[in-house]
Amino acid sequence: MRFDKDLVAASATPLVLGILAEGESYGYAILKRVTELSGGRMQWTDGMLYPLLHRLERLGLVVATWGTSEAGRRRKHYALTPAGREALAERQEQWSVVADVLQQAWDSARRSAQQAAQAPARPAVAEGWA
């Protein structure tokens, strides 16, 4: 599935913060987790993750440390800071409001669409009720 660029940009920060809330991680593992959580429906451009991680680091939401991978290569690990947890909690509230509003708007839209679809089928009854 292709996602709108702005939507990816908006959701990436809370998603990365959420994944890091599960525990310290590194770039490739974060991306794998995104794929896993979305069942493969959400795929980012891999390279774009790193500027984002660096921005979060600069904002003090995550801290980075250099470690080594199993193969003995340099690997940068990221962990959530207390400020990061706060930011995550705030984002979660905002997103649940957004999700809630969207859900309600779409539900009511669906209901009125159903009514509109059903309306011409039983005009007599409708008139009777009115």
């Binding site: 490739y28 891999d46 390279g47 790193y50 500027p51 660096h54 250099w66």
Partner: protein, 449 residues
């Protein structure tokens, strides 16, 4: 080649490609490489072969230009390429970075000590003039021998001309402060610089590209040393002013200790700075040439008008002729510097036209000056100074005239820009040969006057 080695080679290639993006730092490349390897091995586990896995992984990484732009937005300071003397963080191999700094400082102090010893050993001013560059050059060369791991064969081959130069400068029975002595002292650094150049290019002095690198290095070194000199001057001035308040005069210390260490030290440290962070000046070089090319053109045109308006050129002072050489050297440096910074594949633009105007103006001014010089020689005969000035002038004339022709050819799209670049690098050694000739032959020919 096994598929594993091929994969390593491909990853290396990818790395060097990513590194060309200035906004992506080496540490970021490490991070992304780790990612790439993770992706490749996961893909390979699903049954793809290494080549396919690599291709898919690179594709998944996304358009590097876009990624680089994103990095640039996040790290705007990187585009300004701050001076990072020692890489931050616990990079594996942080040892060599500190070792290099230690080597550079040791060489800088060593050059200072050598100059100081020369100061103590020779009392006369002229002996100093002869020996200070001789003392500094080996330390600068030693840095490149260490840095480039230059073959000892090359170093040994260079020791011969170096020793010859040292002997000629110190053994020739010059009349003290005579003009042949001054000429030899002025031209010796050019020869020394050529020797340093051979070390710089690791002995590959016959190749054209390394020669251009050395020209670039020279220009950048001049910028660095100038910056260091300005900074050092301000610092010394403030210190002197403060100390004078308590009645201390640092003038004696300045002459006997600070300058002998500061000047050669600045050259060695400057060379290291150029090596450590070539990008810093790469950004400035095109800007400097673009600022000074039009200004120099205006200056030359004004000079031309004044010279032509003055009349009676036979009476002009000898200094004018030396001044002319200085102006032509400046024009040549501007040309060389902008040629070295220019992308050879770019199409001719207005700036190339401006450069042609600059070269034409320089040639016109030089034609006037040369007439004056020949008139003077016809009237008063040869002197070592005049021959040296005339010789240099002719070399510069040939160099600039052919550069002008090639530039014209390039503007009319008859010649590739590469022809102009090759001409610059081919001609550079001629100056070293001429300088060597002045040092070695002028003394005996003119009776060491």
């Amino acid at each position: 080649m096994g598929s594993r080695e091929r994969l390593e080679a491909q990853i290396d290639q990818w790395r060097s490609y990513v590194q060309r993006h200035r906004a992506i730092s080496p540490a970021d490349v490490d991070e992304m490489e780790d990612h790439l390897r993770g992706r490749v091995s996961d893909l390979a586990a699903t049954g793809l072969d290494d080549d396919e896995a690599f291709l898919v992984a690179v594709r998944r990484m996304g358009n590097l230009d876009a990624v680089s732009r994103e990095f640039a937005r996040e790290h705007s300071e990187r585009l300004w390429k701050q001076l990072v003397l020692v890489p931050e963080g616990p990079a594996p191999g942080s040892g060599p970075a500190w070792r290099e700094l230690a080597v550079v400082l040791a060489l800088a102090v060593g050059a200072g000590i050598a100059v100081k010893v020369a100061l103590a050993a020779f009392d006369t001013d002229s002996a100093l003039l002869r020996n200070v560059p001789l003392m500094t050059a080996p330390f600068l060369a030693a840095y490149f021998v260490w840095k480039r791991r230059v073959a000892w064969r090359v170093v040994a081959a260079l020791l011969v001309p170096y020793a010859l130069l040292a002997v000629v400068l110190n053994v020739y029975p010059y009349v003290d402060t005579g003009s042949t002595l001054v000429l030899a002292a002025i031209h010796a650094p050019v020869v020394l610089w050529a020797l340093v150049g051979v070390v710089y290019v690791g002995g590959r002095w016959r190749d054209q590209d390394p020669r251009m690198d050395f020209a670039r290095f020279t220009g950048e070194l001049v910028v660095y040393v100038t910056l260091l000199a300005i900074g050092g001057g301000v610092l010394l001035g403030l210190t002197a002013a403060t100390l004078s308040l308590v009645g201390m005069d640092i003038e004696p210390a300045m002459e006997s200790w600070i300058m002998p260490f500061a000047v050669p030290g600045a050259v060695v440290v400057g060379a290291w700075l150029v090596e450590a962070k070539q990008d810093v000046v790469e950004n400035i070089a095109p800007v400097l040439t673009r600022v000074f090319t039009p200004l120099t053109t205006v200056m030359l045109l004004v000079t031309l008008v004044v010279l032509l308006g003055a009349g009676g050129l036979a009476d002009v002072e000898r200094e004018l002729l030396i001044l002319m050489d200085a102006i032509l050297v400046l024009v040549l440096c501007l040309l060389l510097y902008s040629v070295s910074a220019r992308d050879s594949l770019a199409r001719p633009g207005w700036f190339d036209g401006l450069q042609l105007v600059l070269v034409a103006a320089a040639l016109a001014v030089d034609a006037v000056a040369l007439t004056a010089m020949l008139t003077r020689i016809a009237e008063f005969g040869f002197s070592p100074n005049k021959v040296a000035a005339l010789g240099l002038n002719l070399l510069l004339l040939v160099h600039l005239a052919r550069s002008g022709l090639l530039l014209l050819g390039f503007l009319r799209e008859r010649q590739p820009f590469g022809a102009l670049v090759r001409w610059q690098t081919r001609f550079l050694p001629v100056y070293a040969v001429w300088a060597a000739l002045v040092v070695v032959a002028f003394g005996p020919v003119f009776g060491f006057a």
